[in-house]
């Protein structure tokens, strides 16, 4: 997003495509010294969306603070439905998501340097809200929500869509399209739907029942699932595989091929050397239930973490993870590394695998070269041998988890689907359309291995594209998001959200006793928050979606907001360009990724500048404002989905609307 995207003065803009809830804002443009127009245009949805760091970071733009408030209020089903609408798999993602929201969470920034009542540092490690685990709470504690799901389409529209692979991307496309009357047919080589969710994520992280439930909600919308049917030909599929031609094909077949390591001894000792994702899926389907006592796992990603932790449960006693790079550069999420180490699995870094050692075809160990990281002038890293003798590590089995690749042996090279040099399909990043107008890609199969939440985001966009294609509309014209701003004021000191900021540090999710957990690969390790813990953790959320909205015309420049702001976010000062202004604010403003909210038109000719970076959204500026120039307004944004392009009522009952309605009462 361009840095000035939120700055569009002099425009009269309707914020919402649904006029009744729209906030109309007339912003008067003003020329500053540099001849630059600087006013923040709060009518541009991106401006406040960026302030909600978690939602902005989420590929599916889930309205995080909204559902966290609902969890705090004990409205788990409503919280679940907001998630379901947005990210389709709340219970699954609540256990397995890569959580791009959490590193972005403002709580992690504002806790830095926090001090107690006596000004002493609390020494608490700043941590984001446990957004992911709260999502799981909504799924765990909800009531039966089946009556709130969309109904099966009353009338089919005659269009047929084939989906290849029953993973999260395809399931999302089907969920979005089926209620609109599309006949969706999902093909998968496995007998059960779920894709990598089912085949690669170990059951001790994600129980089968959760997969069955959430995949079931989708298949229950009248979607045909043809399990155990591997697609061998795109051309044949387009032609209908013998059951009538398809109007569109969505490819969500993932990145199914695990990379191998061609080292000396690989062929000879093949019996005890396994490709990580294949091994995980064999474990998942019960084909493998044992592994040797000494196991080496090669690779530093999340798949490696799943491999080593699975090994610990299948008889592995001495399990090691060995990575080429440094510990900090590993691709695995920090919490997954922690979980592995918690289970007594050491991670050895800067070891480059050199050879598999075997005795007459029986694997006995591996040889590693020790390296160190050297950086050249341009900051590029090279791994240079330290010159120390090679390290021999004895083992019974090796799991290779050094990356995944896409593979499309079933797409004919003359099927008009173009591929790039890396073997990836050429796909439009917005529409997800390939070079064949009827063929769309999403999830790992589109741009290489990412994660579930990206697959969901791709699925929503692809569904919009497929729907437009089938209606004969221009698929490059994307529907705008729905958003609105609504005052949360209920009384002089009353807001419809809890604005008292919690001082609690992040709560830890309780774990199953390790002795029990390591005995059975199907025992879920994390127990999830109970209602009381969930409430306390939810209270740590700063409600960043409740925005500080400033009306310059009402301001008398009394400084009340400046004095009360606990984070020194607000400054009244002469105008200037952004870079220079940042040096004149009441508190240092070094985080350039966060916008300044700038408003002019004040009587003294100064401007109000608010650094959004550290705002606690506590509302004290608005409580202290004698004229109501500050107001706390909830920003609610939902990215468009396929059903938004249809005039009839939304396909899903929307709890979010009810919440907004209440706030207005």
């Amino acid at each position: 997003m361009a840095p000035l995207s939120g700055r569009r003065p002099g425009l009269e803009t309707s914020c919402s495509k649904k006029g009744s809830e729209a906030v109309k804002t007339k912003v008067t443009g003003r020329v500053t010294h540099g001849g630059e127009l600087k006013q923040t245009d709060i009518a541009n949805p991106d401006y406040f969306h960026k302030v909600v760091d978690c939602q902005w970071a989420c590929p599916a733009h889930t309205p995080v603070p909204e559902y966290i408030r609902l969890i705090a209020a004990g409205r788990y089903s409503d919280a679940f439905m907001i998630n379901w609408q947005s990210n389709v798999f709340p219970g699954i993602l609540g256990r397995t998501c890569d959580r791009p929201c959490e590193p972005a969470c403002r709580r992690g920034r504002v806790e830095e340097g926090s001090s107690d009542a006596n000004g002493q540092s609390t020494g608490v490690k700043p941590e984001p809200v446990a957004i992911c685990r709260l999502k799981r709470v909504a799924a765990d504690l909800k009531d039966d929500i089946r009556h709130r799901l969309p109904k099966r389409a009353a009338k089919m529209n005659g269009k047929r869509v084939a989906l290849v692979g029953a993973g999260p991307a395809s399931l999302t496309v089907a969920r979005d399209l089926a209620p609109l009357g599309y006949e969706c047919v999902i093909y998968d080589a496995d007998a059960q739907a779920g894709g990598m969710i089912r085949s690669q994520i170990p059951k001790f992280r994600l129980p089968e029942s959760v997969i069955d439930e959430e995949v079931g909600y989708i298949l229950g919308l009248g979607i045909e699932f043809r399990g155990g049917q591997r697609i061998d030909s795109l051309k044949a599929l387009l032609a209908g595989n013998g059951s009538g031609a398809y109007d569109a094909v969505f490819v969500g077949s993932g990145a199914p091929r695990g990379r191998d390591l061609d080292l000396p001894g690989r062929k000879e000792a093949a019996k005890n050397i396994h490709i990580g994702i294949d091994w995980l899926s064999s474990v998942s389907f019960g084909h493998i239930d044992r592994i040797g006592k000494r196991v080496i796992v090669l690779g530093g990603g999340n798949t490696a973490m799943d491999c080593c932790r699975s090994s610990r449960r299948l008889g592995g006693e001495d399990v090691k993870v060995i990575v080429r790079s440094g510990f900090d550069e590993m691709k695995a999420s920090p919490w997954e590394k922690e979980d592995a180490m918690h289970e007594g699995i050491p991670i050895l870094n800067f070891h480059v695998p050199k050879a598999f050692i075997h005795e007459d075809g029986k694997l006995t160990g591996m040889l590693f070269e020790k390296v160190e990281a050297k950086y050249d002038d341009k900051g590029r890293r090279r791994l240079v041998p330290t010159g120390e003798p090679d390290v021999h590590l004895a083992c019974d089995d090796v799991l290779i988890a050094v990356g995944q690749e896409n593979a499309f042996p079933w797409i004919e090279r003359d099927a008009s689907v173009a591929f790039d040099d890396h073997g990836l399909p050429v796909v439009d990043k917005t529409t997800l359309q390939s070079t064949h107008p009827k063929v769309f890609f999403g999830g790992d199969s589109a741009f290489g291995p990412k994660n579930i939440i990206w697959a969901v985001a791709h699925g929503h966009e692809a569904a919009i594209s497929i729907d437009a294609l089938c209606r004969g509309a221009d698929i490059t014209k994307r529907p705008p998001p729905l958003f609105n701003l609504l005052s949360q004021k209920m009384g002089i000191h009353e807001w419809s959200y809890d604005n008292d900021v919690s001082n609690d540090a992040r709560f830890k999710v309780p774990l199953k006793d390790m002795v029990i957990a390591l005995k059975n690969i199907k025992v879920e390790v994390e127990l999830g928050f109970d209602a009381a813990q969930a409430f306390a953790e939810a209270q740590r959320c700063l409600n960043c979606d409740v925005q500080t909205v400033f009306a310059p015309k009402l301001c008398i420049e009394c400084d009340a907001c400046v004095d009360i702001c606990p984070m020194d976010c607000i400054t009244f000062t002469p105008d200037g360009d952004e870079q220079e202004l940042r040096t004149r604010l009441n508190a240092p403003s070094r985080n350039l990724t966060q916008d300044l909210y700038l408003a002019g038109g004040l009587k003294t000719g100064r401007v109000m500048v608010k650094d959004e970076d550290m705002c606690l959204h506590c509302g004290l500026c608005a409580e202290r404002c004698p004229t109501g120039a500050w107001d706390m307004q909830k920003f609610f944004l939902e990215p468009a989905q396929a059903h938004d392009c249809h005039r009839r009522a939304p396909a899903v009952a929307r709890p979010s609307r009810a919440v907004l309605g209440e706030a207005a009462d």
Partner: protein, 351 residues
């Protein structure tokens, strides 16, 4: 006004002073005054001034009388000594405290009712005795706690919120302070921290009776057209005679100014006040000239602000009374009961 305590979280990059404190460490409990009260801005300026001066909070005694203004010491310097005294009686309580322990910084906060009406006599005698203190009057021209009657500093002809016109002559606290012998006299505006914070810092560093009259709009009862103490009126009629840069002792002074535009004054403690003149003829060391100027500008309807008068070599009460150098609580039995010979000697000196 708010019912919430201010969150403890603070900006992680807040500057720290020499004592390792941030300005948040100089705050008090959250204010219960009306939202937008000028007094809260003055509290903010006081917090900033003490933070910038690296003053250990426990070396400050803040005293006040009764009224909105006199509530404010609760809202700053939560770790200092405080005394919320009787209406109009802050000066005598403060004088007593100062005599008992001369080592603390004495900070008196009062309002126009507390100082110009019920406590006018106390104010007068404190000033003429030269008690070493900072005396701040948070001046809004009305009795806010009793819903907006004119106070003694309301200008003649100014209008109350409901339209009543004030027919009484106003008391100008600055003129009184000048006349009564205050050695540091300033006027400022709650809505101009850039002016107010250096004035408070200089007043704290000043050795002697330092008086600052701060116009502080009452948002609830005196911020309407026809008021002469509203945000708009003060902004329109504010005539600053100078801008003060306060340099603590041992600061290297680098900025250069054109000759004649700058007046430098060295205080007792070595700190330097640099007055950038905004009005060429104004001389802050000339008391008679200052009084004359103030009367003229007042007649023209202007509110003169800035450092109006300063006598850097002022005496204070302790020197005039020739009191003992150390706080009374540090005197031992030997000094307190010097014996019959000492008594005899003393009595002889009176014969």
């Amino acid at each position: 006004m708010t019912y919430l305590a201010k969150p403890r979280l603070h900006h992680p990059d807040l500057p720290k002073n020499k004592l390792g404190y941030t300005h948040r460490d100089y705050e008090g409990t959250v204010s219960t005054l009306c939202a937008g009260c000028g007094h809260d801005s003055i509290s903010g300026a006081i917090i900033q001034a003490f933070f910038e001066l690296d003053v250990p909070p426990h070396r400050v005694a803040k005293l006040s009388g009764i009224g909105c203004s006199s509530k404010t010491p609760t809202y700053f310097l939560g770790n200092s000594h405080g005394f919320n005294s009787v209406h109009g009686r802050m000066p005598s309580v403060l004088t007593g405290a100062n005599l008992a322990n001369r080592d603390l910084i004495y900070f008196g906060v009062s309002g126009d009712g507390d100082s110009a009406s019920i406590g006018l006599g106390q104010f007068a005698h404190l000033m003429r005795r030269g008690v070493n203190m900072v005396y701040i009057v948070e001046n809004n021209g009305v009795y806010g706690l009793t819903k907006g009657q004119f106070s003694a500093t309301a200008d003649k002809g100014s209008k109350a919120k409901r339209g009543a016109v004030n027919n009484d002559e106003p008391i100008d606290m600055v003129m009184l302070a000048l006349q009564l012998g205050a050695s540091f006299v300033a006027r400022s505006f709650s809505g101009d921290k850039e002016q107010l914070v250096p004035l408070i810092r200089a007043a704290i560093a000043h050795h002697g009776a330092a008086f600052i009259d701060v116009i502080s709009p009452c948002v609830a009862f005196n911020n309407h057209p026809g008021s002469t103490k509203s945000y708009d009126f003060v902004r329109e009629h504010n005539e600053a005679v100078n801008r003060l840069d306060f340099m603590p002792a041992k600061t290297e002074i680098t900025t250069e100014y054109a000759p004649g535009t700058l007046q430098e004054v060295v205080q007792h403690d070595g700190s330097v006040l640099r007055l950038r003149k905004l009005h060429e003829d104004y001389d802050a060391s000339d008391k008679a000239g200052a009084m004359n100027y103030l009367l003229q500008r007042q007649a023209a309807g202007e509110i003169v602000t800035g450092l109006l008068y300063l006598r850097p070599d002022a005496d204070d009460l302790h020197r005039l009374l020739n009191t003992v150098d150390v706080p009374l609580n540090q005197l031992s039995e030997k000094e307190l009961i010097p014996g019959a010979a000492a008594l005899e000697k003393f009595n002889a000196s009176l014969r």
